[in-house]
């Protein structure tokens, strides 16, 4: 087995009582000493939470063909981005299924940053570098030099403003700025995966501990993987390896809104078009248990007594007051039939609902 990697904040996590677990090749805290529910509550109910998401990868794309290259390798329309804007997008293979979901940061027409999933980093970089051969573009993996923090919740902006000269109020939703952070320079974007207002902060590893300690001193509550996944799931956001994978296309995953078939050719486009024409074999839905229990990943979903699919992410939602889940079902069951979830051999009734499962407080 490959040795697990440590982020520059490993010692800080241990000092805070972090229960370290393997995740995407790294040792990361699943929770700190007060537990996942308190962490979740801090983010949802008016505080700010700080997350070490350094395991995620950062890829720099630069060169005169940068825009044309990204139009070809990503699903969303990169030409719509203005300098300083972020876009949720995806990398597909020729079969139209997901290599990864990503965010694209536009610095200018010839320079972009991609933020990618940790577990897919080497696969993504190899794919991008192979495709780059046909373009005047360089693909550089900056992941090992960059610490990535998320600061999420109502008090995120006030806390972060104490350590940067950038005017955070001026950074809109899915926008970013580059400037001084602590003792160095970095990027701050108003993005995140929790449904709360907040930021993601890209800084050099050399200042990671200083920035972390300063934000914790400002009241930011350290958040582990368990609470992070609760916050993500409550918003119904897709996570690679759960809702999306190389087994599904954007048609199944309800991600056609980031797949722009009218922008010109891109990898996977033809396959997505034909999948769209022939119809998906399964579709992602959101459900809420009306009976008692917690719907969890891989539990089977039944419709009118017939097995229809399985849960990809599920949880007990404190705010929704019960079990909520995302699940793939047969297309004929997206809107029709009585849904139930099999929990330890028993059928527990559920109903279809919409995401987010609880109110989103992102700044639009």
């Amino acid at each position: 087995m490959t040795e697990l990697l440590k982020t520059p904040l490993f010692d800080a996590h241990v000092a805070l009582g972090g229960k370290m677990v393997p995740f995407a090749g790294y040792e990361l805290p699943v929770q700190y000493k007060d537990g996942a529910l308190k962490e979740y509550t801090a983010v949802r109910e008016g505080e700010a939470g700080i997350f070490d998401i350094t395991h995620m990868g950062q890829v720099r794309v630069q060169g005169s063909d940068a825009l044309a290259f990204l139009q070809y390798v990503t699903t969303n329309d990169v030409s719509k981005l203005v300098d300083g804007q972020v876009q949720y997008s995806a990398l597909l293979n020729d079969q139209g299924t997901f290599i990864d979901d990503i965010t694209t940061y536009k610095i200018n027409d010839e320079a972009y940053y991609l933020c990618i999933n940790a577990a897919n980093r080497h696969k993504d970089v190899a794919h991008l570098q192979a495709q780059a051969a046909n373009f005047d573009v360089e693909v550089l993996d900056d992941s090992d030099d960059t610490t990535l923090l998320a600061l999420q919740g109502a008090k995120a902006q006030a806390a972060l403003q104490t350590i940067t000269s950038m005017d955070l109020e001026a950074i809109g939703y899915y926008k970013f700025a580059r400037g001084q952070i602590g003792e160095a320079g970095g990027i701050i974007s108003r993005t995140g995966y929790t449904g709360e207002d907040g930021f993601e902060i890209y800084i050099p590893n050399s200042i990671a501990e200083d920035v972390w300690r300063a934000l914790v001193a400002e009241g930011a509550v350290p958040i582990g993987l368990a609470a992070r996944d609760m916050l993500r799931t409550e918003m119904g956001y897709a996570l690679y390896g759960h809702e999306i994978s190389d087994a599904v296309t954007p048609v199944e995953a309800k991600l056609m809104w980031i797949t722009k078939l009218d922008k010109g050719d891109f990898i996977g486009k033809a396959a997505v078009e034909s999948r769209k024409a022939e119809g998906a074999k399964q579709r992602l839905i959101a459900l809420r248990l009306t009976g008692r229990g917690i719907p969890r990943e891989h539990y089977k979903v039944f419709v009118d007594g017939e097995e229809s699919g399985e849960i990809t992410s599920g949880m007990h939602s404190p705010m929704a007051g019960g079990g909520v889940a995302l699940a793939y079902v047969k297309p004929e069951h997206v809107t029709e039939g009585q849904i139930s979830v099999e929990i330890r051999g028993k059928q527990i009734e559920a109903e279809r609902t919409q995401t987010p499962f609880v109110r989103s407080n992102v700044r639009r």
Binding site: G35, I294, H316
Partner: protein, 126 residues
């Protein structure tokens, strides 16, 4: 947290309080700590017969689903309904309000081996 001296324990970190022919079951403070925040408890039906060592219920934390096992054999006579609304009582008061069920002890408990508080404390250190 000190381990109450009137309880007996299993290697699966369950506790049992025996009073006459009645036994109350719960999970130890060590167990609740290891499980993390408990968000759901599945309780058995009243009247069910349970063997010693049999899974009689389920405790779910934010991330994990865990069976709970009977320290002694018996018939379920009472379940802690409060756990349906407040499953976190298992975390906050594992040896008190976080009890899970009560059974009428049956007579097939000859092979059951339980630890006293002192033995359990030693077991936890090993």
């Amino acid at each position: 947290m000190s381990i109450p001296s009137d309880l007996r324990f299993t290697k699966e970190h369950e506790w049992v309080r025996i009073e006459g022919d009645t036994a109350t079951f719960g999970v130890s403070d060590h167990a609740q700590e290891a499980l993390g925040d408990i968000v759901f408890v599945e309780l058995p039906e009243i009247g069910r017969s349970i063997d010693a060592g049999e899974a009689y219920g389920v405790v779910e934390s934010v991330k994990a689903v865990s069976d709970v096992y009977a320290p002694v054999a018996g018939e379920v006579i009472e379940v802690n309904d409060a756990l349906e609304g407040e499953p976190d009582l298992v975390n906050s008061d594992a040896y008190g309000a976080g009890w899970i069920i009560k059974v009428k002890i049956s007579d097939n408990n000859d092979d059951v081996e339980l630890m006293n508080a002192e033995e359990y404390a030693t077991f936890l250190e090993e």
